[in-house]
Amino acid sequence: MAASLVKDLQSAIGKKYVLHAPEDLLVYEYDATIERGLPEAVVLPQTTEEVAAAVRIARRYGVPVTARGSGTGLSGGAIPCEGGVVIVTARMDRIIKLDAENRLAVVQPGVINLDISKAAAPHGLYYAPDPSSQKACSIGGNVAQNAGGPHTLRYGSTVNHILGLEIVTPDGEIVTVGGETIGLPGYDLTGLVVGSEGTLAIVTEIVVRLLPIAPATITLLAIFDEVLEASEAVSAIIAAGVLPAALEMIDDKTMRAVEPFVNAGYPPDAGAALLIEVEGLDEETREQADSVRATCEVAGTREIRIGMSPEDRERLWAGRKGALGALGRLAPSYYILDGVVPRTRLPAVLAGVYEACERYNMPVANVFHAGDGNLHPNLMFDDRVPGASERVLELGEEIMRLCVDAGGTITGEHGVGFEKRNYMSWIFSDDDLEVMARVKLAFGAADSFNPGKMFPSSKGCGEVSSRMRSAIAKVGADAYV
């Protein structure tokens, strides 16, 4: 069967763009997590028609289809965990149209996130969602996961910036949802497909909204003695009526890890730093910066640095952006969590995270989107030590519980994938999950697209825990969350 599947794919997409030799397939069995799933074939189509043809062929052979962008995901979304055909969108990398007058662009899914902003910049525009992997991640993957980033606080996630999509359904039909204009009649299928993690449709064309670049941006770095002081300052900044573009926290462990590599100038005895960015018109931006500064001073900051020029701002961001890469040097492995809590619960939950990690004797570094209440504890361990992986997963689960118990959720931007599919029942009832499954039925998806993702699995415990174990993130030195 595999041989004739490959042959059919080759005749539809071209021999050169169908991979089937075991050594070629290995590259596509993992993403930024280390979960593995070996596909039977990998195709690299260039057109929507080729994607649709590949879907129809896979359907004929009864094998699942998993779409893959750049493979930078942090929840295993692009892993073909039940084999089948992987459709890689890397060759669908054209910006089809950049309509500056209407502040939108039509792009193929393989376009790299940052390249949209680069193309739009000469027109004074940019694409707002900026996941930390934006130099590498594809817009198609962003759409699948509803990716976030530091500037989600003010501008929202991917879904807030998508006007329309061209999709291939599990039947292999090409359908347009939404469009270039707003207010089109019918159910908002665009909003439904964004964030569906490749389980409902494969996105082959995307209409993105572009925003005018703010005329003024100021970045502030506020250093605190205590992490709790810093987390209390987060709420205070917002209570003062300022909605920053970004509000990030870097804790002591992270600062100490980063300092030797980035020379960010973090004091060695500091407890935490907040990185705050405000933007808008000059006057307003200065006023917001003044307000943030005053709030931080009341909250007990010991030092504030302010960056106005692009170079100074870049320097303040360097420690934040280099954090994960630096942390990767501290331990052979680490596991990145992605929980969200209401902002006001941040101090309590953060204290709970430190307490739990201490109890497990597991080093943790926190570097995260504090303004959104989106925590990213990085648990550092050595996966070669027997039992270490089990313990880190147990601890991760306990931390996710803390988030859910505080009224939060299990993922703010990385997606459920299969890493967290069994936590879905913590926040959704059986009825909620059953109603979600109806959407899959409506799209005719059953388990043909990206099976094994998002929904709790009925698979046995051993199976689940082995998948969970291998979901521990292993990312490159220049990655950050």
Binding site: D188, L192, P212, A214, A239, T411
Partner: protein, 400 residues
């Protein structure tokens, strides 16, 4: 089908005598009056009514403030009005979290008062009346000129609790500002006009109220001059909350609301006045009283196409129509004196939704226009969420 007397007494046994009454003119939809009105005081009893309707093949239309019930095709059936206004509590509001959770029968007026007291707002368009309920505004996906700065309901709704057409009480999303767990069913329910589920509770992002707001207006000789100004102001990141262009006699009136920090408002007002003056804008003459809109429709297009389309519409409709255009968003609302003008209030290749018209004018047409290419997926969704077509049958796109 049950007889009227038994329907009333069955509903009384679910929601109580005091919360049940006979159908009357005030809850009619497109001239159809239901047999009975139920005003459940709990989500569970609302769900029971829906399950009852499933068991007896009855059609339900959920109603809140009834401000937007003119939207939609003429319902094919209408037996029970589900009045959601008793479900009107604020469930959770922590201003520092910038989130709020409320029941869907609360009015925008009550919500505005509660958040306003904390210096905040749920960013619904200021043009939406206070009497409208949250559930109705979400179901009808109501937005206005401030969408350019505040977004549409899909952008600031973070969670919903609904009852599906087959009576399942279910949640979507959550109460935190950032959440990608599971399918975002909020998107599906918002704008579904009560054809998939009845919304009973909603969680929103809130934002600070602008510290200062002021309105300014300019008159122009051409629609394109009037439309260019707010689009340029947008590119300069000026503090515009909303922008609308209306026809006043032979001229075009641009109305802009500026809001934000006092310094930003000051500078934005100055620069917008300069942009307007460069485009030939003048102080407006006496305002022309707005026509009472008995018939209204909304047309969607690219902002760049809008000025020419606006001129075309104006010449097709003459003086007896009020036209309001949102130049940065790419939408035109036309208010018409009679349904006869609907035919002229259309543009080739432009999507149009008739938002209000007398039922006799709505019959025989689809108020949503040509069904979109994705209609089969929409039909499949309807079958999944409301298999017996109990909820608002016939009202949606292609009479779903």
């Amino acid at each position: 089908m049950v007889r009227q007397a038994s329907l009333r007494s069955d509903l009384e046994s679910i929601t109580g005598v005091e919360n049940t009454r006979s159908g009357s003119e005030d809850i009619a939809v497109d001239g159809l009056t239901p047999e009975a009105v139920a005003r459940p005081t709990t989500v569970e009893s609302a769900a029971e009514i829906i399950r009852y309707a499933n068991a007896h093949d009855l059609a339900i239309i959920p109603l809140g403030g009834r401000c937007h019930r003119s939207l939609g095709n003429v319902p094919s059936r209408y037996d029970i009005a589900l009045d959601t206004t008793a479900l009107s509590a604020i469930v959770e509001y922590e201003p520092e979290d910038l989130t709020i959770t409320c029941q869907a029968g609360i009015t925008l007026g009550a919500l505005r008062a509660a958040t306003g007291a904390a210096g905040q707002m749920v960013p619904f368009d200021p043009s939406i009346p206070d009497a409208a309920t949250v559930g109705g505004v979400l179901a009808a996906d109501v937005w206005g000129p401030a969408r350019m700065s505040l977004g549409a309901p899909r952008d600031f709704t973070i969670g919903l609790r609904v009852i599906t057409g087959d009576g399942v009480v279910t949640r979507a999303g959550g109460r935190v500002v950032k959440n990608v767990a599971g399918y975002d069913l909020c998107k599906l329910y918002i704008g579904s006009l009560g054809t998939l589920a009845v919304i009973t509770e909603a969680s929103f992002k809130v934002q600070p109220l602008p510290k200062e707001a002021r309105a300014s207006a300019f008159e122009f000789a051409s629609a394109s001059d009037a439309c260019r100004v707010p689009n340029e102001a947008l590119m300069h990141a000026l503090a515009m909350r909303s922008a609308a262009v209306t026809r006043t006699g032979e001229r075009w009136l641009l109305s802009i609301v500026i809001g934000g920090a006092p310094s930003a408002v000051e500078r934005s007002a100055r620069e917008i006045a300069a942009l307007a003056s460069d485009a030939g804008g003048e102080e407006p003459a006496e305002p022309v009283p707005a026509l009472e809109q008995l018939v209204a429709c909304r047309l969607s297009m690219l902002p760049s196409e809008l000025p020419a389309q606006l001129e075309t519409l104006a010449s097709k409709l003459g003086a007896y129509a009020s036209l309001v255009a949102y130049p940065t968003l790419g939408a035109i609302r036309a208010g018409l004196l009679d349904a006869g003008a609907l035919e002229r209030a259309s543009l080739p290749g432009v999507a149009r939704v008739i938002e209000a018209a007398p039922p006799e004018a709505k019959r025989g047409i689809d108020v949503f226009g040509e069904p979109p290419a994705s209609l089969p997926l929409m039909q499949a969704a309807k079958e999944q969420f409301d298999p017996k077509a109990v909820l608002s049958p016939g009202r949606f796109v292609d009479r779903l």
